[in-house]
Amino acid sequence: MTGDSSLVSAVAAQTVRVLAWKGPDPVRVDAAYATLGPDSLTARGTSAVADYVVDWVLETGAAWVTRRLSVRTRGDGWVRSLELGRDADGSWSAVRQHDGQRAGRLDVSGLDGALDCDLGLCPFTNTMPVLRHDLVASAQRGESRRVELVMAWVAVPDLTVQVSPQRYTSLGPASDGGAMIGFASGDFETTIEFDRDGLVRVYPGLAKPPAGVTETSRPRRRSRSLVALRHSSDRRNLAGVTSTRHLKTARRKLIMQARRKIAVAGGTGRVGRHVVDVLKARGHDVRAMSRSGGVDVVTGDGLGEALAGVECVIDVATGALVRAGGGYRVLHRRGPELEPGRRAGRRATDGRGVHHRVRPVHRGL
């Protein structure tokens, strides 16, 4: 019986997560099934893109140090596989087979000191360093903590292995106990959103949760729970892949990766301060517009200056409605009198002569 109860507690310490991501490329999808232990994990997953599919199995030892990564890529008329391993002494080995030729050992002598593998374009393998260095907790506390790592990076779909110095930096909290974490490798730099379990939620330009799929029950740490996926119809997923779509998504990828000037009306408010935090953590140039900061979206005071050069406004300023009416209940009772009212319209011009018209509020409610 004691054996049974230790088995039960070992199982109880695990969290099972079923993950799905959709990429900006209309045919890129990633999915993974992961079992997260107290200091290790196992996972298997798959990716599908236009030209090939990938499947992989990952196993770590204690402290989320990679033990084994097995990868296979397959396209029209070709298949490649890689067995990457790290033994208890820290020695890496890699055996690659491609296009029907004999399997060959790759030179991985430069990997000494690496603890993690990083499967190219896979949104799952960012998790191990984040967990080992407890970066979600740092981000939640608002600490900026930087960790330098060397990874065994697997190029996809070639399945060659390279030494990859990488840098992870905790930036700040994300929703639901998650974290915004900066990632840099060579010239590449981005901000990745992780969930409370240290799993990637949004990887700009690569992966984000597919529309209409949400985990209906979120497992708590150290409790066993199965995750069900709720699917609702997603017309866009069913839409055919056309060249126009390719162009659109390529453009969108550029937009998502660019640093943008974004103004937040009500940027110090209940929702606004969170919006400002998220945008800043994602690397955007953010202007929080508030009365305390000299910008009044009702009167228009300071608005022109605040909007100069701004590409997008996020309007979460609802306080003006409450302010003008003296409180929710008053507004509530005065409801029948409500009308759209006079709208304050202001123009601002950015450097390229683009006019932004803002019609913020229903003055005099």
Binding site: S175, R252, L331, H332
Partner: protein, 166 residues
């Protein structure tokens, strides 16, 4: 532009919700493309209602069915719309409903107000009221504020949120 609005605002004839619908329409009538995200009531709203309704030892809060959501959960969704405009269809285009975001489960506002007071050790007595002068009172009480089937649902629940903020 990205605008936050309220789930169900198009059903109401009065009050804050109707004002938000007017806000949506004013935005949509302008020349700049607009993406709207309708959110449920925020967790933070419960404490505000308890304060507004406080009269001595009793706080009168409206009877309301609501699928409370954390403001911090709504914020990334708004940010997504700012730089990923195609993640939401243009409002008014055929068959494109305005996206909604809400908490994972429906709550009763009076129960949540009681839970909040208990957690804070606030001795206030919560009383659910229905304002007969409000033409929309039935909507609050019969689910007019609840999300549709395609809404994004995301935690934490009000109770989890209280745990994490207290």
């Amino acid at each position: 532009m990205v605008v936050v609005s309220i789930i169900g605002c198009d059903r109401f004839t009065a009050g804050y919700s109707a004002a938000k619908l007017a806000h949506e329409q004013a935005m949509l009538s302008g020349p700049i493309p607009v993406r709207i995200l309708r959110a449920a009531q925020f967790h933070e709203f419960v404490a505000q209602l308890v304060e507004w309704g406080r009269q001595g030892e009793v706080s009168y809060v409206p009877k309301m069915r609501t699928q409370l959501v954390a403001a911090a959960t709504v914020a990334p969704a708004l940010a997504d719309l700012a730089y990923d405009p195609e993640s939401a269809p243009a409002p008014g285009s055929a068959g494109a409903p305005i996206p909604e975001i809400a908490g994972r489960r429906e709550e009763n506002l009076v129960d949540m107000a009681n839970l909040l007071a208990a957690r804070r050790g606030d001795p206030v007595k919560i009383e659910g009221v229905s304002d007969p002068a409000d033409p929309d009172r039935r909507l609050y009480e019969t689910g007019g504020l609840l999300p549709g089937p395609d809404a994004t649902l995301a935690g934490p629940t009000f109770e989890e949120w209280l745990d994490s903020t207290s």
